[in-house]
């Protein structure tokens, strides 16, 4: 954690190059503090607060293409724990340089500063220091990926129905807030849905989110592919250029299915982009959807024939379970929720019943225009029949989920910038990492 191990700053006065970093810092600081000392030359940017003065890092949580996430506590009595997301600065040689902040970081900073909802992860502050961006979020002990994974160990046992219901309600509630504010999340998946130790669900990682009201450019032009492939809506797979909140609700449907079956419902393989950087048709992923949902028909999706990849559909084979090509989702649903009841687990998901199926099929509706909106889904009878939905998804549970694994390998938030391991803790079930370069 020593400051001396940091790379030298390049932003300061040229004459200070030979001086130690600390001396440089102090002299620049003085230039700010003492007005009479403001001599000539531009003053390098200095953060007014320093991340290590405000927070004590407890350990390292995960890393991705964007940078790293650390767990921390406040040094000045700030209540609770924090997850600090550090964006990786670009390196030119050994020297870290200001290279301009990526558009996705800008989006996430701007959106998180504006949004405020109990089911969206809360941003505490952003510190811009030493060419790095530190976004300080409230800490969440769990996420849906970790919870789902826990239920597969040592053998599969279902997530209790009351928990599923509460998670779904809170997830929809957070997304409804985003959509009401013209924000598309675009990357909903279990790993991005946080759950606090108090059982509050928080939509996280708005790194791909963006506003969709009156964009200057079509939403398609900026970043060509969004949403991790297993959660990608059929209209996107068929080449739609018109993004709507319906792409998020499809992903929510996939997450609902995964909470029930503990496996991704449409686990396709991503076709890689070719050398010409054209986006290939995701045949395998579409095939996985068709196997359960049947081939989409223009009677149920009038705009289907206008999809750029419509012709490709003809080359897919329909549902193997159903000769006339219809959906076998209902069959999938009942065999899933009843599969555990044979082992006489009292908390069987069978109690989710018919309304659970109706909600699932409403979210996994082929036609994005007929797909349930988050608003409609929240008013679905699924949530008003049976037990009351709890604001704490762990209410009534005897067991406790394991805590997020925090490693001690890399506790120095200020220095390290090279992502090492992908994620400490869970094996990621070989999940595809979806993040387009912009």
């Amino acid at each position: 954690m020593s400051l001396a191990s940091n790379p030298p700053s390049s932003g300061g006065a040229p004459s200070s190059a030979s001086q130690s970093r600390q001396t440089l810092k102090r002299s620049v600081q003085q230039a700010f503090d003492d007005p009479s000392d403001r001599g000539t030359g531009p003053i390098g940017y200095q953060s007014k607060v320093r991340v290590i003065d405000r927070y004590k890092v407890i350990g390292f949580i995960s890393s991705g293409t964007y940078g790293r996430v650390y767990k921390a506590v406040g040094r000045h009595g700030q209540p609770g724990e924090f997850a600090i997301k550090k964006f990786k600065p670009d390196k030119e040689g050994e020297q870290i340089q200001y290279t301009g902040i990526s558009q996705s970081a800008i989006r996430e900073m701007a959106l998180c500063s504006e949004l405020s909802h109990m089911n969206v992860i809360r941003l505490c502050e952003i510190i811009l220091e030493d060419k790095c961006i530190f976004m300080v979020f409230e800490y969440a002990e769990h996420d849906l990926l970790q919870i789902i994974h826990h239920h597969t160990q040592p053998t599969r046992h279902p997530i209790p129905p009351a928990t599923v219901k509460s998670i779904m309600f809170q997830l929809l509630n957070g997304c409804q807030y985003l959509h009401a504010n013209w924000v598309l999340h675009r990357d909903l998946k279990p790993a991005n849905i946080m759950v606090t130790s108090g059982g509050e669900v928080k939509v996280g990682d708005l790194g791909l989110a963006r506003l969709f009201n009156k964009p200057l450019h079509s939403l398609f032009s900026g970043d060509k592919v969004v949403v991790t492939i297993w959660y990608r809506a059929p209209e996107l797979l068929l080449g739609s250029r018109h993004y709507t909140p319906a792409i998020d609700t499809w992903a929510i449907g996939c997450i609902f299915a995964e909470l029930l079956s503990l496996r991704p419902i449409f686990k396709g393989e991503e076709a890689k982009m070719d050398s010409k950087k054209t986006v290939p048709f995701q045949r395998n992923q579409m095939q996985k959807i068709v196997e359960i949902m049947g081939l989409p028909r223009k009677e149920q999706w009038p705009n289907l024939v206008n999809m750029p990849e419509y012709a490709q559909l003809q080359t897919l084979s329909g549902s193997s379970h159903n000769k006339n090509g219809g959906s076998s989702l209902e069959k999938w649903y009942y065999s899933t929720i009843n599969s555990h009841s044979a082992t006489s687990v009292p908390s069987s998901n069978a109690s989710l019943g018919l309304e659970g199926y109706k909600l699932l099929s409403g979210l996994l509706e082929y036609d994005p225009e007929r797909r349930l909106t988050t608003q409609q889904a929240l008013q679905h009878p699924f949530f008003s029949t049976g037990d009351k939905v709890s604001a704490n998804c762990f209410e009534g549970m005897k067991m406790e989920y394991p805590h997020r694994r925090v490693s001690q390998d890399d506790n120095d938030i200020r220095t390290s910038s090279l992502p090492g391991t992908k994620r400490s803790g869970l094996p990621d079930d070989s999940r595809p990492v979806k993040r387009m370069k912009e």
Partner: protein
């Protein structure tokens, strides 16, 4: 909130009264009296006109849309409400604001392109080192507390265009009045819908086929016509308004039925009209020289 102005950071953190704004600026100058004394600057409106011209020049070269340029101008105004201008290189701040606003408005430009256009426009005041612009980006974002989502009056104007059956001419005049208001303090003093209604009101009072906005001699007349229209809102609210015969009357009746703060619209009207009067006296050469002098003398272009 991203879509709701009432819950936005713009309303909560970036809306001032005239007194608050004057205080902020006074404090900035008091922090550095020597520099302020050494390098006198023209009044803020002239600086704003000059900045607006520079934003437009750079924006044109880069092909930046009007809305992104408006966002850039708002960033610049917010930034200089927190940082004394003589401590900065305005050309670098302008280019950085345009660079940042383009990203925010989803039409990004590469940092190297922005820097090379900046070099072309202001060769004596602009470093070819892209990291300078990257550093300035940190500075601007930090001073704005990362609150980069802004609400513009254009959206209100577009949505009210049919309500008041504005002709193409009237609408585009209102649009250019909105463009002009970024050269005043109005974006920090009034809500975007207030600005939009002020712009519509003026476009109806001015009647684009008759007078030009720039005509300073008529500014007083415009002000009194707008004032008269707004004061009749009061009588309409007390139920004396007849059937609307003109668009202006329709606007007045509509305002009377709304909860919109008429005083705020009056204030906006006065602010923009006094701006148009001042604009006549703008001296680009003098403004440029005074800016360039402190940039060079303080070595801010390095």
């Amino acid at each position: 909130m991203a879509a709701n102005y009432w819950e936005s950071t713009q309303r909560r953190n970036w809306l001032y009264t005239r007194e608050q704004l004057d205080d902020l600026r006074k404090k900035l100058e008091e922090d550095d009296p020597t520099r302020v004394q050494l390098y006198p600057l023209p009044q803020l409106r002239y600086l704003s006109i000059y900045f607006n011209q520079q934003v437009a020049r750079l924006g044109k070269r880069l092909g930046v849309r009007q809305q992104a340029m408006a966002t850039a101008q708002l960033y610049i105004r917010r930034f200089y409400s927190k940082v004394e201008i003589r401590r900065t290189n305005p050309y670098l701040v302008i280019a950085t604001a345009v660079y940042l606003a383009s990203k925010m408005e989803e039409s990004p430009h590469h940092i190297r392109l922005v820097v090379s256009e900046g070099r072309t426009l202001w060769p004596d005041f602009f470093s070819s080192d892209t990291s300078k612009l990257g550093e300035c980006e940190f500075f601007i974002i930090s001073e704005m507390s990362s609150q980069m989502i802004v609400h513009h009056p254009y959206r209100t104007l577009t949505s009210l265009q049919s309500t008041f059956s504005l002709t193409q001419q009237e609408a585009s005049l209102a649009w250019s009045i909105i463009n002009d208001h970024y050269m005043t303090d109005l974006p920090l003093l009034a809500a975007p819908h207030t600005i939009a209604i002020m712009a519509i009101l003026l476009s109806l009072v001015l009647r684009p086929n008759q007078t030009g906005v720039q005509s300073a001699s008529s500014a007083g007349n415009i002000a009194s016509a707008a004032q008269a229209a707004l004061s009749s809102v009061g009588s309409s609210r007390s139920g004396q308004g007849g059937a609307p015969r003109t668009k202006l009357q329709r606007l007045v009746n509509w305002l009377a039925e709304s909860n919109i703060d008429i005083e705020a619209i009056v204030d906006c009207t006065q602010e923009i009209i006094s701006f148009y009067e001042v604009q006549e006296q703008f001296n680009e050469k003098l403004t440029r020289e005074q800016i360039n002098r402190f940039v060079k003398a303080c070595g801010l272009d390095k």
